[in-house]
């Protein structure tokens, strides 16, 4: 299967299809791990999760246990959470503040900067034993973009800013909602497994074509609460205008006029009358700081951003940062957080979190139905021999603008996926 292309892209015939074996074949996953997850920049976490020297969080990225932390100089570092002696995990806590990391198995210890600083019975090793070579291993590249920390296991990775390409503008739009110019991850992690191929969640995260059918109960709920949901224009699916855009390097976005309210900063009845002055004040601050046009861009559009391959930043009912890693062709582990402006008022924070839960997450009114949809798709993938191809041609015949319910942004992901899978 390795040299088989799973993406058929024929612009002349206006044909674009994805082969369903890409969602079930273990050989495809193995190749993805080596050619995508080991090559691209991968989201590791947010600087705000580890604010002070010695702070750490542990997680599994690209199949490897890692520690995201601040070293003794409060510099952001990523270490492989693996002892150099026998390979045990050296830190088994989710988060905390550490003087260093000690493997409990034979007692090797490492300082905050990853240096091996303790080896019980070290004199039994021959003279060739060199502590300096046995510090905690690090990915070849770790870099941040405005608080978002990425790593790459690829020694030849291009600079992060170049990799992010047009996605930077969309991260900037998210971050611009913060009066302090900084965003932070809010305490509380939603971690869950979906029994589906990870690429189905990429598609789902910025596929507005499914919104009206999959999420009708959520729409009914917000309508009942008093939100004016316009009727879609003739020939359209969505209540408001929105476009799909490619951002380079496989990143893409849907960029929508907001109709559903935003903590920053468009009040809807769901937030309650008491929240109105707060939302208006946030809006006024935005206009003051950014000017009317930029404030409108920040506050009146919802944007679902996919940073290739597996980072989603959705700025809608609230801001969610979501990343996911495959553990099998039909299984992924999802981690999702709420992101909010650093130093936002307690009241605005409460509105943001409340708004988050209406739509997002394993107990929200929408995400569980997405999960059900993806698991349902995965079940159907088992018939890939009989039904090998999924069509992905929506909007392909259009000149110019592509809608959020078209599939340009999905095609963009798949074109780059195919490019990585077959790079020389």
């Amino acid at each position: 299967m390795n040299e088989t292309h799973h993406v058929l892209n024929d612009p002349d015939r206006l044909d674009f299809r994805v082969h369903r074996a890409a969602m079930v074949d273990p050989a495809v996953l193995e190749r993805e791990m080596r050619r995508i997850f080991d090559v691209c920049w991968i989201y590791a976490g947010h600087e705000s999760e580890v604010p002070a020297a010695g702070d750490f969080v542990t997680r599994t990225l690209c199949g490897r246990p890692i520690i995201l932390c601040r070293d003794s100089a409060a510099k952001i570092r990523v270490f492989l959470n693996v002892c150099r002696h026998r390979g045990a995990v050296v830190c088994r806590e989710r988060s905390g503040n550490a003087r260093g990391y000690q493997c409990f198995y034979h007692g090797w210890s490492y300082d905050r900067d990853g240096r091996l600083d303790g080896v019980p019975g070290e004199s039994s090793y021959p003279a060739s034993f060199n502590r300096a070579e046995l510090g905690l291993a690090q990915p070849p590249h770790v870099a941040s973009y405005r608080g978002f920390v990425f790593l790459s296991f690829n020694p030849d990775a291009m600079p992060l800013e170049d990799y992010l390409a047009g996605a930077r503008e969309y991260l900037d739009l998210v971050i611009d909602q913060s009066a302090s110019g900084e965003m932070e991850i809010i305490r509380g992690t939603q971690e869950y497994t979906i029994r589906a191929n990870w690429k189905l969640l990429v598609e789902n995260s910025f596929d507005d074509y499914h919104l009206m059918s999959t999420h009708s109960t959520w729409l009914d709920y917000i309508k009942k609460s008093g939100v004016q949901v316009p009727k879609p224009a003739k020939g359209h699916v969505m209540p408001a205008h929105g476009v799909g855009k490619a951002l380079g390097n496989g990143h893409a976005v849907i960029d929508n006029e907001n109709f559903r309210g935003r903590p920053v900063a468009k009040w809807i009845p769901l937030y309650g009358e008491a929240a109105k002055p707060e939302i208006e004040a946030i809006r006024a601050e935005l206009v003051e700081r950014l000017g009317e046009a930029r404030a409108r861009r920040v506050a009146d559009t919802n944007r679902n951003l996919v940073i290739f391959p597996n980072l989603v930043v959705n700025d809608g009912s609230s801001v969610t940062v979501r990343t996911f890693h495959p553990t099998a062709p039909d299984r992924m582990q999802v981690s999702a957080w709420a992101l909010g402006p650093k130093a936002e008022s307690p009241r605005a924070r409460a509105i943001r979190l409340d708004s988050f839960l209406t739509f997002y997450g394993p107990g929200g009114f929408a995400t569980p139905d997405d999960v059900e949809a993806l698991e349902s798709v995965q079940e159907g993938m088992s018939a890939w021999r009989e039904i090998p191809w999924s069509p992905m041609t929506r909007g392909m015949a259009k000149e110019g603008e592509q809608l959020n319910t078209d599939e340009l942004h999905l095609r963009e992901f798949w074109i780059h996926w195919d490019r990585y899978m077959h790079a020389p």
């Binding site: 989710r94 988060s95 809010i186 305490r187 509380g188 992690t189 939603q190 971690e191 869950y192 497994t193 979906i194 029994r195 999959t214 009708s216 109960t217 959520w218 009914d220 709920y221 009942k224 609460s225 582990q333 957080w337 709420a338 307690p346 924070r349 409460a350 979190l353 409340d354 988050f356 839960l357 209406t358 997450g361 394993p362 107990g363 009114f365 995400t367 569980p368 139905d369 999960v371 059900e372 949809a373 698991e375 079940e379």
Partner: protein, 175 residues
């Protein structure tokens, strides 16, 4: 004074309604200011105003949740999951005196006993097609109000023990 046995009868009755998907009857057990919460697994002690939960509903969103769950378009729960709840280790951990002003009281405290804080352990088995089986294990924390009509739920918090939601996937039913 309300007894543990009365509380147990109430919780068992509530569990039976939820397992039978009699959600309107379940709603009738709640006070007008009721809240229902499931904290994120890594922050079981958080406050929903400053911590991301999985569920943090006020009474309006609880009613919205029930309306959604009764709609066949709530795909995650259609067909409905089968659930079976085991509730044990029921304890009254605190009794509060009734507020003299009746502040925040949706209904009168007929027996004049105020609220009781109750903790209980739960295992909720959930079954969906294709052998999707989940066991939600944790503890409940209730604030129950003693009213003329019997006990009513003012706060219902389901705190999961698993370190992540993981393969449980979703909390799309009433946990």
């Amino acid at each position: 004074m309300i007894t543990r046995a009365e509380v147990e009868d109430f919780l068992f009755q509530e569990a039976a309604l939820l397992d039978a998907w009699k959600l309107d009857e379940w709603l009738a057990l709640l006070t007008e200011d009721a809240r229902y919460r499931v904290p994120s697994n890594d922050s079981p002690e958080g406050d929903p105003a400053s911590t991301l939960f999985l569920i943090a509903d006020d009474i309006d969103r609880i009613r919205g949740r029930v309306a959604r769950l009764k709609d066949p378009h709530a795909h995650a729960e259609f067909p409905h999951s089968r659930t079976r709840r085991m509730i044990s280790n029921v304890r009254i951990v605190e009794r509060s005196s009734p507020s003299p002003l009746g502040e925040g009281r949706g209904e009168g405290s007929g027996r004049g006993e105020g609220d009781v804080i109750v903790e209980a352990n739960f295992t909720v088995h959930r079954f969906r097609r294709d052998e999707r089986i989940g066991q939600y294990v944790g503890r409940y924390r209730y604030r129950l109000r003693v009213t003329d009509g019997g006990l009513r739920i003012a706060l219902r918090e389901a705190i999961l023990d698993s370190l992540e939601l993981g393969s449980l996937g979703a909390v799309s039913f009433i946990l």
